[in-house]
């Protein structure tokens, strides 16, 4: 039997997605500062992998946002 009240439907999924986004964002912030440090130290070879990984992290965040957005609209429209 589902004991979850109807107004809480989807909130757990949204919270899970939000936590994942926060983790990805922390990694992305670290990546940006590490790439900047190495660029300023004259190591320009780190810029390409830094940009690629950052793009992947952003795409993952966007996918999670899309997930949250759809759950939200599905639930609120019944």
């Amino acid at each position: 039997m589902n004991t979850n009240p109807p107004q809480n439907r989807g909130v757990t999924a949204i919270d899970g997605a939000m936590v994942l986004i926060v983790i990805l964002l922390i990694v992305q912030i670290w990546l940006l500062s590490a790439t900047l440090e190495s660029y300023l130290a004259g190591h320009r070879e780190a810029a390409v992998p830094g940009a690629i990984i950052s793009a992947i992290l952003f795409a993952a965040c966007l996918g999670l946002y899309r997930f949250v957005d759809r759950i939200d609209s599905d639930i609120r429209q019944g």
């Binding site: 107004q7 989807g10 909130v11 949204i14 919270d15 997605a17 939000m18 986004i21 926060v22 990805l24 964002l25 992305q28 912030i29 990546l31 940006l32 790439t35 900047l36 440090e37 660029y39 300023l40 130290a41 004259g42 320009r44 810029a47 390409v48 830094g50 940009a51 950052s54 793009a55 992290l57 952003f58 965040c61 966007l62 999670l64 946002y65 899309r66 949250v68 957005d69 759809r70 939200d72 609209s73 599905d74 639930i75 609120r76 429209q77």
Partner: protein, 170 residues
């Protein structure tokens, strides 16, 4: 198939400012998630900017600038000069009878001026106790993450000349 929300039958303002508390929690979470995603976009833009800078980077040309005459300083002595522009303070250290090293005087942490500590034979930044090796400018201890940019020197005819910078991203 739409990428994001299904087209809603309710007007946008009603969607975004619900009157029911239960609906509001979804809106708050969605808006916070949107904010996080935009922050992620900003981080990605930062990485792209670094990429663009490194792809279109041209090696700067440095002037030749006399710094000191041989024998002008005793062993362990220091001399301040500015290179490559008048806004770039540098420090020259005579480490041996005929060996000299010079570094940018700006600490790579927060740009305080480093000075030479003769007893410990290292460069010190007094602001947050950052220490750099005199031999190669590498970080020995403290908050700086990068070595001090090194000034390339050339000794010719008893004259020490600065000819370039190593380890600096202009």
């Amino acid at each position: 198939m739409s990428w994001f929300r299904k087209p809603s039958s309710t007007p946008l303002w009603q969607d975004e400012f619900p009157v029911f508390t239960a609906d509001e929690r979804y809106v708050n979470r969605r808006q916070f998630t949107k904010f996080l995603t935009l922050t992620s976009l900003a981080m990605f833009a930062g990485n792209l900017w670094i990429l663009a800078r490194s792809l279109f980077h041209r090696s700067p040309s440095y002037p030749r600038q006399p710094v000191a005459a041989a024998g002008e300083m005793e062993v362990g002595g220091v001399k301040m000069f500015a290179y490559p522009t008048a806004q770039d303070p540098c420090i020259l250290v005579r480490t041996g009878s005929d060996s000299y090293v010079a570094y940018s005087q700006k600490c790579t942490h927060l740009s305080c001026a480093v000075y030479y500590e003769k007893d410990q034979n290292r460069l010190e930044c007094p602001c947050h106790q950052g220490f750099f090796s005199v031999a190669d400018g590498s970080v020995l201890q403290g908050p700086p993450q990068r070595a001090l940019p090194r000034v390339a020197l050339e000794m010719k005819g008893g004259q020490l000349t600065a000819v370039g910078m190593d380890g600096e991203s202009a």
